[in-house]
């Protein structure tokens, strides 16, 4: 047991932090929130050059071949700095290709992802808003050498700029909702696909995506027809853990900013950080952040080592959801008026904390998984 980041990870963290401080300051974040596209292609190119998109992709596909935990270290910094754009969505889709892709598919997509040539997203949720597998209802029907897809996916991150969508569909009528899920990699630029940005609290460009008789060649099935659930489950679990890493970074930023502000801001002739009631609140936010950290790190270690971790991933996500909302809420409270303003950075985290809570399953959803995994009878 050694609960430190590796030296390599520490270097990565520092470089990511420094890079984003220069390339994506908070003024840029705010600008991208209001921007229709919502990301900076130049920045994307630089990130690709640094190898970020390929970080966890094996070297044989032109990635850097680093571990899932290394990826978490990167994403933690992204969460700390806040980076709008299709990085996270592409990463999650990459998990799906790694989990289910054939060798040919990996050869086709992973090098392009590594090089930053394509952006992806996972199309999972639907209008019903359900996080579990029964929420997937849109049907792909075989027709000749194609499948034909109709229906609507909701809250698809950055779909409006994605080149490909990894889409979870239903290809049968089995009684068990897990049994007839099929994943496709779909060219998002198809004219039969329309996307529309849903205005959200984090302005993070979640989209409604409509599939209107989209023809998908059979070779675009990711994994086997009707057998997509296992790979999707793995993908969603990894997505949840990596989202937690992002939140952990965000929480750390909140605590750091609040500590710094409370040392500077003077009221009643002393820094507000000298007031014991505020000290205790700050200490509590630090504890919430710290406990979330190690839950998340543990889940990440298990995932990275291929060990079973459905329970730990769900514990981490449920806990982190609430911790991030709590920490960012108190950070605003402690900043006072300025904290509620758009020109101050702290509310960026508060709004993202809510988005992070929703992404990859909310607290109730994950707690139900935990309930099962600790052995509570269904």
């Amino acid at each position: 047991m050694d609960l430190r980041f590796t030296e390599e990870q520490e270097m990565l963290r520092t470089s990511v932090k420094d890079f984003l401080a220069t390339e994506c300051p908070k003024s840029k974040v705010r600008e991208l929130e209001d921007d229709k596209i919502g990301y900076s292609p130049e920045l994307w190119k630089k990130m690709a050059e640094l190898g970020w998109m390929g970080l966890i992709i094996p070297e044989e596909y032109q990635g850097m071949g680093m571990t899932f935990q290394d990826g978490m270290a990167l994403v933690e910094e992204i969460g700390r700095s806040i980076l709008p754009g299709p990085f996270m969505s592409t990463l999650v889709a990459t998990f799906a290709i790694l989990a289910a892709g054939s060798e040919a598919q990996k050869q086709e997509f992973l090098p392009k992802i590594s090089r930053g040539e394509i952006k992806l997203s996972l199309a999972y949720l639907e209008a019903n808003g359900k996080y579990d597998v029964s929420g997937i209802t849109i049907k792909a029907t075989p027709k000749g050498n194609d499948f034909v897809l109709n229906g609507t996916k909701m809250f698809v991150e950055m779909a409006h700029v994605a080149d490909y969508l990894v889409c979870a569909t239903r290809t049968g009528d089995s009684a068990k909702p897990e049994d007839d899920i099929t994943l496709f990699v779909i060219n998002a630029k198809s004219p039969s696909i329309t996307t529309e940005i849903i205005p959200t609290i984090a302005s993070d460009k979640l989209c409604e995506v409509n599939f209107n008789n989209v023809h998908i060649p059979k070779q675009n099935v990711l994994g086997e027809v009707n057998k997509g659930w296992q790979a999707l489950k793995t993908t969603l679990r990894k997505a949840a853990i990596i989202k937690c890493a992002e939140s952990v970074g965000g929480m750390q930023a909140c605590v750091d900013m609040t500590v710094a502000y409370s040392k500077e801001r003077v009221q009643y002739d002393r820094p507000i950080g000298a007031f014991q009631a505020l000290q205790h609140i700050i200490a509590d936010t630090w504890i919430a952040m710290q406990t979330a950290c190690y839950l998340v790190y543990e889940a990440g270690w298990l995932e990275s080592n291929g060990l079973p971790c459905d329970k730990e991933a769900s514990m981490a996500k449920a806990y982190t959801n609430e911790a991030y909302k709590l920490v960012s809420k108190w950070s605003i409270r402690l900043h006072g008026g300025i904290g509620t303003s758009r020109e101050h950075d702290i509310s960026l985290y508060y709004r993202r904390a809510k988005a992070a809570d929703i992404a990859c399953g909310d607290t109730d959803f994950h707690n139900e998984i935990v309930a099962e995994k600790i052995g509570l009878m269904k």
Binding site: L125, N128, G129, K130, Y131, S134, M154, F155, I198, P199, T200, I201, A202, L206, E208, V266, Q267, Y268, F275, A277, L278, K325, K329, I332, R333, G336, G337, G339, T340, S341, R342, E343, S347, Y350, R351, K354, A355, I358, D362, T363, D364
Partner: protein
């Protein structure tokens, strides 16, 4: 102990509800709370329209003594606020009607009363509060803007911040140091002036969700006639009088009742897997808890009104309402965004549920806990003044 209303009060309440229900019909979509009053032109016009309707009926001066055309009973104000809150209708200037008027009644000279009370009651003149400064947020004694007397005028210089609605208001009230070398708490005046006089620059400060509520107000040799509430140099006393009125603002409390009904309605009509959300035991338990807390904050507001009627309201009681109701709104908004699932993050749009009000409340609740003296300051006051705990030097 009697929680009942007189027959007359019941009749008046009915009237309040009737008029507010009518006014609700003209409410712009997504209009919600204080923020919507000041953010858009449409909202501001709607607010003024409602104000006129209320003024016509004498409802902006409800709780004032009979000599100023009021009923003299705070309970009327509460009942009116309930009706407005329930229907989400604006029209009552929280600064002019709810804070300034009772302060003038308590501390104002006859001259000030005769000039300003009718202005407020007319609904045509809206106020803003020139209060906090960049280095004087909770700590109002630290303010540095000055008002220097020159004959019958004051010359004001300085900078105010977090001024809600400064970009809309016609008049302002505020405090300024009028005696730079004076002893603390005896060196400021509480002044009223027209916001259209020269020398005032207003810079918007956007709220985190981009709404325009707050402003910075720069005062550069602003020359105004001397309209003082209370004694010159003794603005601190007036500030404290006002603070109790400010914090016992119960409109926010009662508006939650409606949000609860809307939430119940949403849960009854929205199905997941063919089952209404209302049957989800987690939702039942959590909404029931919130409902109890809303009822608690309502009874606490009644208590405040009851104390006010007898002139017994303390900062402790006012602070309790403020703390409890602002933090309740936070919990409620948080719960509602949870219940809505992925739709909890959606802003007013064709995808929005409940007109995006939950997403808005999730951000706007901070207005309650931070402004008008942070909840942390309120807790200090309860401890020091209410419970007599020693103040650390």
């Amino acid at each position: 102990m009697d929680f009942g209303f007189t027959e007359e009060q019941k009749k008046r309440r009915q009237e309040f509800y009737k008029v507010c229900a009518e006014l609700e019909k003209y409410k712009p979509r997504g209009f919600y709370g204080l923020e919507s009053i000041y953010d858009t032109d449409e909202g501001w016009q709607y607010h003024l329209y409602c104000a006129k309707e209320f003024a016509k009926r004498g409802w902006l001066s409800l709780a004032w003594p009979a000599e100023y055309d009021g009923t003299g009973n705070m309970m009327d104000r509460v009942l009116f606020a309930e009706a407005r809150g329930y229907h989400g209708v604006p029209g009552v200037d929280i600064f002019g009607v709810q804070m300034l008027a009772p302060t003038i009644l308590a501390c104002g000279s006859e001259e000030i009363k005769r000039e300003f009370l009718p202005m407020i009651a007319s609904g045509e003149v809206q106020f803003c509060e020139l209060w906090s400064e960049p280095n004087a947020g909770s700590d109002l004694a630290a303010l540095t803007s000055t008002s220097i007397r020159q004959g019958n005028e004051f010359v004001i210089n300085g900078q105010k911040i977090w001024t809600t609605g400064a970009h809309r208001a016609h008049w302002s009230f505020g405090v300024y140091k009028d005696d730079i070398n004076g002893t603390p708490h005896h060196n400021m005046s509480f002044l009223l002036f027209d916001m259209k006089v020269p020398g005032i620059t207003i810079r918007p400060i956007k709220y985190m969700n981009n709404m325009h509520l707050y402003n910075e107000v720069f005062l550069d040799n602003v020359r105004v006639p001397a309209k003082i509430v209370g004694q010159e140099h003794e603005g601190w006393m007036v500030v404290n009088t006002l603070a109790a009125f400010e914090r016992s603002n119960i409109d926010a409390v009662v508006s939650m009742q409606r949000l609860l009904e809307d939430a119940v309605n949403y849960c009854n009509t929205t199905k997941q897997d063919g089952v209404p959300l209302a049957r989800n035991p987690l939702i039942r338990s959590r909404l029931a808890k919130i409902a109890g807390e809303i009822e608690a904050s309502r009874t606490l507001a009644y208590r405040v009104a009851d104390l006010q009627n007898r002139g017994e309201l303390t900062l402790m009681d006012a602070g309790a309402v403020k703390i409890f109701s602002s933090e309740l709104l936070e919990r409620f908004a948080s719960l509602m965004t949870d219940i809505l699932g992925p739709y909890g993050q959606v802003k007013l749009s064709r995808w929005a549920v409940m007109d995006g009000l939950c997403e808005r409340s999730y951000q706007e609740h901070f207005v309650g806990s931070i402004s008008m003296g942070t909840n942390e300051i309120q807790r200090n006051l309860i401890a020091w003044r209410g419970l007599g705990l020693p103040r650390m030097k």
